[in-house]
């Protein structure tokens, strides 16, 4: 019993030290999804599509998403009112891989049970910037995507496969390449 009284007498000091972080509550941390949606928009700004990808300047630049945990509404919010080279921007969520025609950017989210999505050869289409996400750098070089998101120290980073980009006619600016993580083995 003596111990219990001691606890209630001394513990308040301990508790206030533990609750020292309370002032930080309410400061919202941005979620991974929002940050990745913003990245997709920025990637499109730093990549050059082959001439003739979009027939006219009226034609929208389409960001397609696929997968169980898509970026959802946040991509719509990010792209709202923006343009790239005077093309309006559009976000589309695909029901299946079959409807991938007409996409300039394709983001496939990671499967629910971990691991990474591997892009089949028939998805490495000309003029299509493929993006996915992985848990660690080690899963990156086998997945066939041009850009792969990874998390490092709670921050969103990305790995770029420049060769894959060149194969489909996309030119990635050197600035974006310099900000990417070196590809793991």
């Amino acid at each position: 019993m003596r111990g219990r009284t001691l606890f209630w007498r001394r513990a308040p000091w301990a508790l206030t030290l533990i609750l020292l972080g309370l002032p930080l509550l309410g400061a919202e941390t941005l979620t991974e999804k929002k940050v990745k949606a913003a990245f997709l928009y920025n990637f499109a700004k730093f990549v050059q599509w082959p001439a003739g990808s979009l027939s006219s300047s009226r034609q929208p630049f389409v960001f397609c998403t696929l997968g169980a945990t898509p970026l959802g509404g946040t991509l719509d919010e990010v792209l709202q009112g923006k343009t790239i080279d005077d093309h309006p921007l559009l976000a589309r969520h695909l029901a299946s891989l079959a409807s991938v025609n007409g996409c300039q950017v394709l983001f496939v989210s990671a499967p629910k049970d971990g691991g990474a999505f591997t892009f089949p050869a028939n998805l490495r289409l000309p003029g299509l910037l493929t993006v996915t996400e992985a848990e660690s750098k080690n899963q990156v070089c086998k997945n066939g995507a041009i850009i792969t998101f990874v998390l490092e120290s709670n921050r969103v980073r990305f790995v770029i496969d420049d060769k894959a980009a060149q194969k489909v006619g996309l030119v990635i600016s050197s600035k974006l390449l310099s900000l990417a993580l070196p590809a793991g083995k």
Binding site: M1, R2, G3, R4, L6, F7, W8, R9, R10, A11, P12, W13, A14, L15, T16, L17, I18, L19, L20, G21, L22, P23, L24, L25, A27, E28, T29, L30, T31, E32, K34, V35, A37, A38, F39, Y41, N42, F46, T74, E77, V78, L79, Q80, G81, K82, A110, D113, G114, E135, L151, N154, R155, V156, R157, L176, L179
Partner: protein
Amino acid sequence: MSRLPRNRYSIALLAAGTRALLMLLLSVPLGLEAQTALPSSDIADKSIEELMNIDVTSVSRKDQKLSKIPAAVYVITREMIERSGANIIPDLLRMVPGVQVAQVEANRWAISVRGFNDIYSNKVLVLVDGRTVYTPSFSGVYWDQLDIPLNTIERIEVVRGPGGTVWGANAVNGVISIITKSSQDTKGGLISAGAGSQQTADYLVQYGGAIGGAAYRAFGHYSSFGNLQTPQGFSGNDRWSMRHGGFRSDWNPSGKDSFMAEGNVFQTDGGQMLPGATLSAAKLTNSGGDILASWSHKNSDRSDGVLQVYDTYYSRFDSGIREKLNTFDLDYKRHTAVGSRNDIVWGIGYRYTSDSLRPSDGLFGTLPLLGVSVTFNPPAKNYSLFSAFVQDEIRLAENLSLTVGSKVEHNAFTGFEYEPSARLAWSLPNSQTLWLAASRAVRQPSRYDTALDVALPLIPVGPGISLNQQTWGDPNFRTETLRDYEIGYRISVSSRVLLDFTGFYSFYGDLESVELVTPQVNFTPGGILVSSALQYGNSLSAQNYGAESSVTWNAASRWKVAGSYSWLKANVYGPSVESSIRELSAQNPLIAQLVSTGAVQGILKGSDTFTNNLAEGSVPRHQFSLQSYLDLTTRLSFDNSLYFVDTLPARDVPAYARFDSTLGWKIRKGITASLVGQNLLSPHHLEFGNVEQAIATETNRSIFGKVVWSF
């Protein structure tokens, strides 16, 4: 003017008032960047460099995978290890729900899971990278032999509940698995130097590099601890030091194969205070080493195997007994996905143990209980253990899976033993998981159970009456059994909060007991001789039940809070020494007279080890812990832990509260310093109390500082 009433309301007021004050103080810019809620349109305006700097703390995918496991798992991550302020593994385990950690002396701990705690607690399996650090001499762990520099630990996984199916016998109440970092992740040099008031030294020198494609690290570690005091105020003679050197090497020549090897040598030097007619100081020393190698081969995405071999050796001098143990273990595990619904893991193993347990009264101390004879019959034994297990995870439906399996072992004491289990995991929407489990586990007899033979010298208990008291092990000691039923629920709320609940009901049978063999009274010409013996047996059974819960809250990008609460009720049934004596005293007046003498009362108190009351009352009813990890600035961290452990009624140990505080400072790249205050709420407190084999000392308030330089 009256003082504040000491009740819950005043605490809440105090907390609220302090918080208001702190908000005022911390709103003054100290280099802190207040993050305000940003609507999505503002993100789109950020540059790539700005996006790369945003903290996106949330429940990780690994946590999500962990949330589907149908078992009571708790993971102590690398970050929690670095920021806990702990320097040794027993202190790290205090935060885990369902785990009881009690320091008995500076160099000894009583650590158990879900009850039955004792200095020789025997129902938990501890592994380091797959190597068992468990001694078959008493089925437990010598925690002072386990020195793993905390910065080399990747994580510690604690599974409460029977792990018999996968891990085998003796994982009755839980498995503590310590996983060290791959040497690929510890390249470069590291020098760490620390000293404090209780831990007087902690020096580590480590270097890691690569030769070709193979990475390696090698280290040397020295730590020393000072004496603690008994409740009466005299020194426990438990000062000790540890010298430890080791290495690890990892080689992944291809995507399909990987190899790992590691080895250690260690030596400890220290002392203890032994109970008896007079207290005597004695030595407690260890030396030993181990080597382990493993080969993982991945056949395909659906099939892989691991082959592991290790050998460990130690020599220990404790309580006047020189114990030597050598273990050789060969293990093969294979995982194969079959069809679209089955995931099968199976394995086989062989272990050869060779031990020697002999009283020693050499240079380092005479048998403290003068004239007491402690022997083991046989003093040396070689024995083999064969094991095989199979487990199938069957996907019954999209979100429902059933894992069934069993382990079969053949041991040298009791022959064949079976440990089956069935576990059901149900994934519910909104990141919830519900799981159920039913399992059987066993604890094999130890050498103490089967071979112990203690004879006290003749004790005069009255005019012309002497007592010849012995304690015998039971060569036919049976396996202790456990039938266990568990239920668990986990939910991840808003991607920032993880809640975990577990409930269990455990039925134990054939538990270790100590019974009184009917004393014989002999009338000799020299006087009356009473011969009495305490015999180990399996006459106890128990029904324990309880609940454990934990919460992790990523409150802000700079602040994480974690907490746990455990509740346990133990009910042990069966004959006890006290009840036998009461019966005998009623039948025989001479016995009654004998029992009332001081000498016999002393013996009875000392032999209480396996009685019902002690087994029930050696664990706290409630346990609670709360941790706060706060980044004050990008360089300064302030981490605090609060623990509450309820009373141990059978051991006269009062409830206590413990508060540890750590200040960490990244001085510049590669140099960090930390200052830790442990047990700040009271100058000293008792955690376990005296046991038959040791005089307990009290854990004290201490301070410790450390500088780590990596290059």
